[in-house]
């Protein structure tokens, strides 16, 4: 079979798209958005039931909705989108043909089949086992089979990505090292391979157990290995959305990483240490020693947290440098004040960084501290945390990226004009509020995955404090805002892709390239601006010997909140019953 070597250059951005790769990216992104739509519809039922003033669904339907909501959002929306990102970061950024598009399609259809099968099992009504499907609670065999199929498909996608890297190197389509964003995508893909392996190790025996071929699945073993899959898949998201942050800074501002060395080392720390984090789900479990828990939950002395703190500085820092070089060099924050606050990709990424750091990052470390976990485990604090990390951090970053990619890949204008920027603000801020109030309710003891915290009709009913109920109400109000924001996103993207105004480029065509792509770009004639400014005493930008002093001040604000909240939690822990 002849290799398809047709490419087109995007007239607006100069990005190069390989024909089959582009088609795959489009299909993966479209299916991702369909999963988001399904997850979003389910979210309505979940939210309006937990808002006990409405208490919409019956318990069995609620647990069924919650299971499917978790799977469609955390797995299908995110991973389909990530496969598109992997192909973008390899084929497009390296200006190279995608390796084995046929395999990529096979992987894609396996993922689709797996997602459908898994959703079917939940729809049956006998597999409301939640995203975590903790054995010995069992689901229908198709539940596990669907997940396994999906995971194998995703694994194929990862290997197509690795193959593309090899092709790019072999056909010399780029000079020197891969771009930082591609490096981030490589990090995500390596973590994905580990993750899917853990998933296979636990889901295959669980599937065999569900059809009666294996007699017993130990609950502690299940939780230990399952979280190697369940949490690690969230670490793929972290790596992917940090890569998207860097990409956004580059696309919107032309920002260059402050230091390739620092950012790449931070990604490397993710590869080494993020996997250990799955242990922080087991801090309140019997049968594991404190030494094991402490070392693993700290991601080996918090070296992966360090990496996130570094990215949290370097992404806004690189934006600050780019803005200062453009002339916004007055004071600490002119660069930020004069940032394009009406640019949807920028605002999405900015809110993503702030909410991921302040709400998601800090709360994640709290839950992942061995003893503090005792006052958090399985409360609403936990979904509060991951609605900050995944629903705001990852999802909002991906939403921002879509607004950039629809004109580029689908060649349609974004519909409804200014609605996109409103969508970003409404979704981002509501989701942040939802997370915050969930954490508040969790701090007051409200459990997660619970149909009725009023325990109506129960002789032993427990009464939660009024403030917990207030938090639930506030959570619900913010949740309605998030639903609105999500609906706006779906309306804008679906309308733009299928009915949006076509972007016409008269001489548009796919151009065959003989080997790889046309010549690799020539090295820049002049040394890069940032290193030039660095060597020439900052080229006059920045203050106090720093090129990004504003970002540094923001980072110190972050650190102060982190330290205070950390010790507030220890103080709270010290007031509960002594336990040993």
């Amino acid at each position: 079979m002849a290799v398809n070597r047709n490419f087109r250059t995007c007239p607006a951005t100069g990005l190069l798209f390989h024909e089959p790769a582009e088609k795959l990216m489009r299909w993966n992104a479209v299916v991702a958005v369909v999963a988001l739509l399904v997850g979003g519809l389910l979210a309505i039922g979940v939210l309006l039931t937990r808002w006990q003033a409405v208490h919409l669904l019956a318990p069995d339907t609620f647990y069924q909705f919650l299971t499917a909501h978790g799977l469609n959002m955390l797995v299908y929306w995110i991973i389909f989108f990530e496969i598109a990102i992997l192909y973008f970061a390899s084929s497009t950024l390296l200006r190279c043909r995608l390796a084995a598009p046929g395999m990529a399609w096979a992987g894609f259809w396996m993922m689709v089949a797996g997602a459908l099968l898994n959703n079917y099992s939940v729809l049956r009504g006998d597999s409301s086992v939640m995203f975590t499907s903790y054995a010995p609670m069992g689901a229908h065999p198709t539940f596990y089979l669907g997940l396994i199929l999906f995971a194998v498909g995703a694994l194929i996608g990862c290997f197509v990505f690795f193959g593309t890297l090899v092709v790019a190197k072999d056909e010399k389509t780029y000079r020197g090292s891969v771009p930082l964003v591609t490096f981030g995508a490589i990090t995500a893909a390596i973590i994905a391979v580990f993750t899917i392996a853990a998933g296979a190790i636990i889901l295959i025996p669980t599937f065999l157990w569900s059809v009666g071929l294996i007699e017993h699945i130990d609950s502690l073993m299940y939780r230990t290995i399952w979280w190697g899959f369940g949490h690690s898949s969230q670490q793929i998201n972290v790596s992917a959305h940090v890569a998207v942050w860097y990409a956004g800074a580059a696309i919107v501002f032309g920002a260059k990483p402050m230091s390739e060395k620092v950012s790449r080392t931070a990604f490397l720390l993710y590869i080494f240490f993020l996997q250990l984090a799955s242990a922080h789900h087991l801090l309140a479990d019997p049968g594991l020693t404190s030494n094991w828990k402490i070392f693993n939950t700290s991601y080996a002395m918090y070296l992966a947290v360090l990496a996130s703190m570094v990215h949290g500085l370097t992404v806004p820092g690189s934006i600050e440098v780019a803005q200062r070089l453009k002339g916004y060099n007055n004071g600490l924050f002119e660069w930020l004040r004069k940032a394009p606050w009406d640019n949807a990709p920028f605002v999405a990424i900015f809110i993503s960084i702030i909410v991921f750091g302040f709400l998601g990052g800090i709360s994640g470390v709290m839950m992942g501290t061995e003893q503090l976990n005792l006052i958090i485990h399985n409360t609403l604090y936990v979904p509060g945390h991951f609605h900050a990390t995944v629903a705001t951090g990852t999802t909002l970053a991906f939403m921002g990226l879509t607004y950039f990619l629809i004109p580029v890949m689908f060649r349609r204008e974004i519909a409804f004009g200014k609605l996109a920027i409103w969508q970003v603000y409404i979704f981002g801020l509501s989701m942040a509020g939802l997370s915050l109030f969930m954490m508040g309710a969790g701090t007051l003891g409200a459990p997660r995955r619970h149909w009725d915290i009023s325990f109506a009709g129960n002789a032993f009913a427990h009464e939660f404090p009024g403030t917990a109920w207030l938090m639930i109400t506030l959570m619900a109000i913010c949740g309605l805002g998030a639903l609105l924001g999500g609906a706006m996103y779906l309306a804008i993207t679906v309308w733009s892709v299928f009915l949006g105004k076509k972007i016409q480029t008269p001489e548009f065509n796919y151009v065959p390239a003989k080997a790889g792509v046309a010549p690799a770009p020539q090295p820049a004639a002049q040394p890069s601006t940032v290193s030039a400014t660095l060597t020439s005493h900052h080229g006059g930008i920045g203050a106090a010997g720093m090129i990004a002093p504003g970002t540094f001040v923001l980072a110190l604000v972050f650190l102060t909140s982190f330290v205070l909240y950390y010790f507030v939690n220890w103080k709270y822990l010290s007031t509960v019953w002594p336990l040993k």
Partner: protein, 180 residues
């Protein structure tokens, strides 16, 4: 000249790093180490730690021990199911059975005294969530998890299940009394 292009300098690892980044990395690293050492510190000086004391056992063996304690120290019955309330002596071993969808027995403990509470599930995973203290511990089938707890203030507490355990998960709640 951006993160979506290859680094312009082929030898990018020799480029100087700005003071902003160096300073932040140093500060962040120190903070990470402080957070790390807080956990062992609390094991030595703090009051709230899990003991790591756990045994593998079977539901039958665990239920048998629980029944012995109930027979010995039962003081009354409560609720529609006539759930036994036990008042064990300070320092003794108490067995709390989690099953679909109740906790058994109801405990009556003395403030300021310590008890060795054994937690285990008879079937699926459950979550021990003591409210309003907000102490939360995972309860496994087959693992007898021993906690030495010291209730502080008298009052009526609740144990709710906070690990999803099926259709009646939200009905799994039990009181716990602490008396003077």
């Amino acid at each position: 000249m951006s993160a979506i292009l290859p680094p312009p300098e082929r030898v990018w690892w020799k480029e100087p790093v700005d003071r902003v980044e160096l300073l932040w990395i140093a500060i962040a690293l120190v903070w990470c180490l402080i957070m790390f050492f807080m956990m062992p510190y609390w094991h030595v000086y703090g009051q709230q730690n899990l003991a790591n004391e756990a045994y593998r056992t079977t539901p039958e063996a665990f239920a048998k021990k629980a029944d012995e304690v109930i027979a010995k120290y039962k003081v009354r019955e409560e609720g529609p199911q006539k759930t036994p309330v036990v008042k064990p002596p300070a320092g003794s071993d108490v067995y709390l059975v989690a099953r679909l969808w109740n906790w058994q027995p109801i405990l009556e403990l003395q403030a300021g005294k310590s008890y060795r509470i054994h937690l285990m599930s008879m079937d699926w995973l459950h979550g021990f969530s003591l409210q309003p203290e907000n102490i939360n511990i995972e309860v496994h089938p087959g693992y007898d998890h021993v906690l030495t707890v010291t209730p502080t203030a008298p009052g009526k507490y609740s144990i709710i299940c906070n690990e999803y355990c099926g259709i009646n998960h939200h009905t799994m709640v039990s009181p716990l009394y602490v008396v003077k």
